[in-house]
C-alpha cells in the first residue's frame, strides 16, 4: 500500500506537499492530514453516514423502543419493560425456532463449505472444460431464490412430483419431502447447501489460487501423502479465508428468510420455522409487534456480540 513509497527525491518532496496545502514537512503524511483533507474526507463520507443512520441506526434504536412497548404497526403503545422478552423467552415456539436456526446454520455453513471445498479442489486440477464447469456450478447462487424454490417445489413438492415418484418406482416408498416434519427440515437444509456451496467454492478457489504451488512439490519430494498435503498445507494456508467464509455464511444462514419461507413457509407444524421466520410471522401475521421485534432483537444482540468477537479475531489473525 502507501508504505511502499520509495525514498526518491520526489517522495521526499511529496512529504512536504500534503494534500490541500503544505504540510510543514511533517514526517508522516498519513498521521497529519491537513484540515482541508479532513473536510473533504468528511464530505465524501457524509452520504454513507446519513444512510447508515437512517436505514440502519435509527431502525435499530426504534426496534429497541418497540420491543419494550405493547404497540402495533400503527402506534407505539405503552411501555411494558421487558415483558415482551419474558414472554418470548418463556414460549416453546421461540426455543424450537432457536434450535432449528442453530441446526440450519451449522448444516448450512459446514455442508456448503465441504461441498464447495471439494469442488474447488477438483476444479483446481487440469480438467477438460474446467472453466465452463466453474461458471455452470455458480448458477445455484446466481439464480434468484424465488426461481429455484419454485423449481424445487416442482421436484419434491407433492407425492406425485418427480423425485418422490422416482423413489416410488424404485420401491422405496413415497417420501413426503415437504410434508413430513423431519424430512422437510432435511430438505430445507439440503436446499440451503445447494444455494450456498457456489459462494464457498468461489471463496475457496480464490484462497487456493494464492497458495504457492512449489510448496506441494517440496512436500511430495519429502514423501508427504495426498492427505498429508491437504491437511498440513492446504488447510493451514487457507485458514484465514476459510475462517472469513464461515463467518459470512453464519451471518447469511442466521439472517436467511427466503430459502426457508419460500420452500416450506416454516411448516409443517413449525418444523422449519427459524427465528427470522418466527419474527416475521409474529409481526405480520399475528400482528404482535412487540414480541416479534423482541425475537428479532434477541437475534440481533447475539449476532452483534458474535460478529464483534469474530471481527477482532480476524484482525488479530491478519496482523500475524
Amino acid at each position: 500500500m502507501s508504505t511502499t513509497t520509495t525514498k526518491s527525491g520526489l517522495a521526499r518532496a511529496r512529504q512536504g506537499l500534503a494534500p490541500g496545502g503544505p504540510g510543514g514537512g511533517a514526517p508522516n503524511r498519513k498521521s497529519k492530514l491537513s484540515a482541508q483533507t479532513r473536510r473533504t474526507f468528511f464530505w465524501l463520507l457524509l452520504p454513507s453516514i446519513v444512510l447508515l443512520i437512517l436505514i440502519n441506526g435509527y431502525p435499530l434504536i426504534y426496534a429497541g423502543v418497540q420491543a419494550t412497548h405493547d404497540g402495533s404497526l400503527i402506534e407505539t403503545g405503552n411501555f411494558v419493560g421487558v415483558d415482551n422478552f419474558a414472554s418470548v423467552v418463556a414460549s416453546e415456539a421461540f426455543w424450537k425456532a432457536a434450535r432449528f436456526t442453530l441446526l440450519f446454520t451449522i448444516v448450512g455453513v459446514f455442508g456448503s463449505w465441504a461441498v464447495g471445498l471439494g469442488l474447488a479442489l477438483l476444479l483446481r486440477t487440469k480438467i477438460p472444460a474446467g472453466g465452463l464447469f466453474k461458471v455452470l456450478l455458480l448458477l445455484p447462487w446466481v439464480v434468484p431464490i424465488v426461481v429455484s424454490s419454485t423449481a424445487w417445489n416442482w421436484l419434491v413438492g407433492t407425492p406425485d412430483s418427480l423425485i418422490p415418484a422416482m423413489f416410488r418406482n424404485l420401491g422405496l416408498g413415497t417420501p413426503l419431502f415437504l410434508a413430513d416434519p423431519t424430512l422437510a427440515a432435511i430438505t430445507v437444509m439440503v436446499f440451503k447447501v445447494w444455494v450456498s456451496f457456489p459462494f464457498m467454492m468461489m471463496m475457496t478457489s480464490a484462497a487456493l489460487a494464492s497458495v504457492d504451488g512449489t510448496v506441494y512439490e517440496a512436500a511430495s519430494m519429502d514423501g508427504a501423502s495426498r492427505w498429508q498435503q491437504f491437511s498440513q498445507i492446504t488447510l493451514p494456508l487457507t485458514a484465514r479465508s476459510t475462517y472469513i467464509s464461515w463467518i459470512l455464511m453464519t451471518i447469511f444462514c442466521v439472517n436467511d428468510f427466503p430459502t426457508i419461507y419460500l420452500l416450506t413457509g416454516g411448516g409443517p407444524v413449525d418444523a422449519t420455522t427459524s427465528l427470522v421466520v418466527l419474527a416475521y410471522r409474529t409481526v405480520f401475521q399475528d400482528f404482535q409487534t412487540g414480541p416479534g421485534v423482541a425475537i428479532a432483537f434477541l437475534m440481533t444482540i447475539t449476532l452483534v456480540v458474535v460478529s464483534v468477537l469474530l471481527y477482532r479475531q480476524i484482525r488479530k489473525s491478519s496482523v500475524e
Binding site: T40, I55, P59, A63, T125, G130, T150, M202, T300
Partner: protein, 301 residues
C-alpha cells in the same frame, strides 16, 4: 450424489477407450497413463455432479418451453411467454424490478465509492471505528430494521412505493459495497494521487479524476453485488409492497405461483424471465466478480 457414484463404472470404460486411442496415436505430450486416466475420471465426476446440481434449473427451462396441458402446440414453444406477458402484469413487474435494481446499483456505487475511498486512505481512529460500525451493521438481520422502517416509511408515504424499496436496498447494500470499493482502492498506488496533488489537484479532484478513472473493475464488481442483492430480494419486497402493479418480479413470481400451482409451464416461463438478467450479468461480467474480494476486504480492515 448417488448419480455420481453410479457413473463411476461408466467413466472407467470411457477412459479406457480414450486411453487406448491416445496410446496408439501420436502421444507427443509427456502425460503418464495414470495422469491421463485421473484427468478423465475427474472430468466424468465433475460432469455428473454438475448435471445433478443443475437439475432444478434445467427443469425450469424445459418446462418454460414446453406446451401447457391445455395447449395444442407440440415440442418447443414460446407460447407460455406470450401467455404470461398478455395475461399477467409480468411486463410491469419486469420494469419495476429493472427500475429498482438499476437505481440501487447507481446510488449505492455513488455512495460507496467516496466512502470506500476515505476508508482506504484515511487512517484515523474515527475512520477505523466507522469501518467496524459498517461491519456490525452488515451482520444485523434485515428483519429487525424492517418493522421500524415500515412504520417510518408509512408516515412518509414510501410503503408500497418503488422509491421506498430502493432506499432500503441502497442502505442494505451500502455496507458491503463500501468495503468492496475500499479493498479495490487499496490496490491503487497512492503515488498516482500524489502526482496529481503536485500538479495542484485537490483531494476531491484527484479522487474523481485519478482514482475513479482507474477503478472500473472495482466499480463493476460492486455494481454486480448490488444488482444481485436488489434483484433477488424477497423479504423487503414482501413487507413493503402491497398492490400487484407495484410488485417487483420476486413478488410477481411468488403471487403468480400461489394462484396457479398447477399451471407449471406459465409459472416456469415467468421464472425464466426472472433468472435471465442475473445470468446475463454474471455471464458477461463474471471476471470482475471475485467473492474473494469481499473476503479480502473484510480481512484487510
Amino acid at each position: 450424489m448417488s448419480a455420481a457414484v453410479h457413473t463411476q463404472p461408466q467413466s472407467r470404460s470411457a477412459l479406457g477407450a480414450s486411453g487406448t486411442t491416445k496410446g496408439t496415436g501420436k502421444s507427443k505430450r509427456v502425460l503418464s497413463d495414470a495422469g491421463m486416466r485421473g484427468r478423465w475420471w475427474r472430468f466424468t465426476l465433475i460432469l455428473a455432479i454438475t448435471a445433478v446440481v443443475l437439475v432444478p434449473i434445467m427443469v425450469t427451462v424445459v418446462l418454460a418451453f414446453s406446451p401447457s396441458p391445455t395447449s395444442t402446440a407440440t415440442g418447443f414453444t414460446f407460447e407460455n411467454f406470450g401467455n404470461v406477458f398478455s395475461q399477467t402484469l409480468a411486463s410491469t413487474w419486469l420494469s419495476n424490478s429493472l427500475i429498482t435494481t438499476l437505481s440501487t446499483v447507481v446510488v449505492s456505487v455513488a455512495v460507496a465509492a467516496p466512502a470506500g475511498y476515505v476508508l482506504s486512505r484515511g487512517r484515523s481512529k474515527a475512520v477505523s471505528g466507522y469501518s467496524l460500525l459498517l461491519f456490525v451493521m452488515q451482520s444485523l438481520p434485515i428483519i429487525t430494521s424492517v418493522v421500524p422502517l415500515f412504520i417510518l416509511f408509512a408516515g412518509l408515504g414510501l410503503v408500497d412505493n418503488l422509491m421506498g424499496l430502493t432506499i432500503i436496498y441502497v442502505g442494505s447494500t451500502m455496507t458491503v459495497a463500501t468495503w468492496m470499493m475500499a479493498a479495490y482502492f487499496d490496490s491503487i498506488p497512492i503515488s498516482l494521487e500524489e502526482a496529481s496533488w503536485i500538479d495542484g489537484c485537490s483531494v476531491f479532484g484527484s479522487f474523481t479524476k485519478v482514482v475513479l478513472r482507474n477503478s472500473l473493475p472495482g466499480i463493476l464488481s460492486t455494481a454486480i453485488f448490488a444488482f444481485l442483492l436488489a434483484w433477488n430480494d424477497y423479504l423487503v419486497a414482501i413487507v413493503f409492497l402491497r398492490s400487484s402493479e407495484i410488485f417487483t418480479l420476486p413478488m410477481g413470481v411468488q403471487s403468480f405461483f400461489q394462484q396457479n400451482q398447477t399451471d407449471w409451464t406459465s409459472v416456469m416461463a415467468l421464472a425464466v424471465v426472472m433468472m435471465l438478467p442475473p445470468i446475463i450479468v454474471f455471464a458477461t461480467l463474471n471476471k470482475y466478480f471475485s467473492v474473494g474480494g469481499i473476503g479480502g476486504s473484510l480481512a484487510g480492515r
